[in-house]
């Protein structure tokens, strides 16, 4: 298919009416075509006007209360906002974070997995990821950008035996001679180095990892950019981390 074929599919994509195979093909094209991405945004704006046509309806007042009370709960339970944390020395902030178990996001996972499955060609690894998640006692930690503008995200599934699989997407390319490196953080201790990896041209990466013995109890995970061979201690600011 050529650019114009994809362009023709965009209005239907804005209505999310493409069949799965077409949608996947178009999504891959969108990754690399800024013009089509812009087009999609415009068509989505048109499609969104359709939302104004049903009769407006008033939800019961309890919905508002429930939303605000849930939001308030979030505020009292959430870990220190990332932006505050980055202003301090982020490595030293893990002491307090260590006390808080890594957030296990099974609900987010089901949504996230659908996206990751589509984005990631390495289906075999995806399968392993799912298998790992389904292992009794397995946990999943979600990593996101330290800078709120970043689009990169990752999920790390791991079990008590130290089997771990990292799936990352939308990672920017690293400069020649550099690679991303995974870190495990246990309480106040210095980060334990994990493997290095380089994403594919679309920014996706899957990393299979055996967690070092001393990192089995890690509950915070981070990714930095390091020299290709990896470092023993992080040499750059955290790029992605769990919280």
């Amino acid at each position: 298919m050529v650019h114009d074929d994809y362009k023709e599919m965009i209005p239907a994509r804005a209505l999310s009416a493409l069949d799965a195979a077409e949608e996947q093909a178009l999504n891959e094209h969108l990754e690399n075509c800024a013009e089509c991405r812009k087009d999609l945004e415009d068509w989505q704006a048109t499609a969104a006007t359709l939302s104004l046509t049903p009769d407006p309806a008033e939800p019961s007042p309890q919905v508002r209360e429930r939303i605000l009370s849930e939001a308030r709960k979030d505020l009292s339970s959430k870990v220190i906002p990332i932006r505050t944390a980055t202003k301090r020395n982020i490595w030293s902030s893990f002491g307090s974070l260590g006390a808080i178990a890594a957030v296990v996001l099974f609900a987010a996972l089901s949504i996230g997995l659908a996206v990751l499955w589509r984005q990631n060609q390495k289906l075999q690894r995806s399968k392993e990821f799912v298998e790992l998640v389904n292992t009794p006692g397995a946990r999943v930690s979600e990593l996101s950008g330290v800078d709120p503008g970043q689009r990169a995200t990752a999920k790390l599934a791991y079990d008590r035996n130290g089997r771990a699989i990292l799936m990352a997407s939308k990672l920017p390319n690293v400069p020649q001679g550099k690679a991303y490196q995974l870190w495990f953080i246990v309480g106040n201790k210095p980060p334990v180095p994990g493997k290095t990896f380089v994403p594919d041209s679309a920014g996706n990466a899957v990393l299979k990892e055996e967690m070092p013995r001393e990192a089995i109890d890690a509950n915070v995970f981070a990714i930095t950019v390091e020299p290709e061979r990896g470092s023993n201690a992080p040499t750059s600011p955290i790029y992605l981390r769990s919280f």
Partner: protein, 202 residues
């Protein structure tokens, strides 16, 4: 907690412009609860109407509405003003959550109570937003200009979450024809709305 003084100015202002929505979303990303309440008050009637149209069930629609605003609360920083307007972002999120729920319910073998649309409560005056009702009139008018054969695929896709193949089956029309009509329909809608002020963002 950071409080945006603009948002603390007092009673809800009904004629907020899109740039105000951007401010609201930024304040929400900064964990300002009052901003969340304002955004909810501004959009609840449109979004709930949309969810009722999709789900045709009050309880489900309210549940999804709550889910949508909690997602806004948790993901407001994902909104990028360079990539579209708050209205589009919010409505696209609401619609896709609504369609997700519709599919879940369908998977549970829900019997559609076709035609038996639930009664909708009267809308309070305070919730009627002059700005949006004007836009609503424009969209309805524009849609009315479309031939039925173009309008139906749009409606089936947007409100019933059907794919082009499913629409072709439903309408007993060739897939190619459905594709063309859907595209032409959306193009015509855009043309009809173009030049109707900046309010639609295209």
């Amino acid at each position: 907690m950071w409080l945006n003084p603009f948002l603390r100015r007092g009673p809800y202002i009904s004629r907020l412009q899109p740039e105000d929505d951007v401010k609201l979303l930024k304040a929400i990303a900064a964990r300002d609860e009052a901003a969340l309440a304002q955004l909810y008050d501004r959009y609840r009637v449109i979004l709930f109407g949309l969810l009722m149209r999709i789900l045709n069930n009050r309880e489900e629609a309210e549940d999804v509405l709550q889910e949508v605003f909690l997602q806004v609360w948790r993901k407001a920083e994902d909104f990028d003003e360079n990539r579209g307007r708050p209205f589009t972002w919010l409505v696209t999120l609401g619609r896709s959550r609504g369609i997700d729920r519709l599919r879940t319910l369908a998977a549970r073998d829900r019997v559609a109570e076709a035609g038996a649309r639930e009664a909708v409560e009267e809308i309070s005056d305070a919730a009627t937003d002059a700005f949006k009702s004007e836009q609503r009139g424009l969209v309805s008018k524009a849609l009315a200009q479309l031939p039925d054969e173009q309008k139906r695929p749009l409606m089936l896709a947007y409100f019933d979450g059907l794919t082009q193949s499913e629409i072709a089956t439903r309408l007993g029309a060739p897939l190619g024809t459905v594709k063309t009509r859907m595209r032409t329909g959306l193009m015509n809608l855009r043309e009809q709305l173009a030049g109707k002020g900046e309010s639609f963002g295209f």
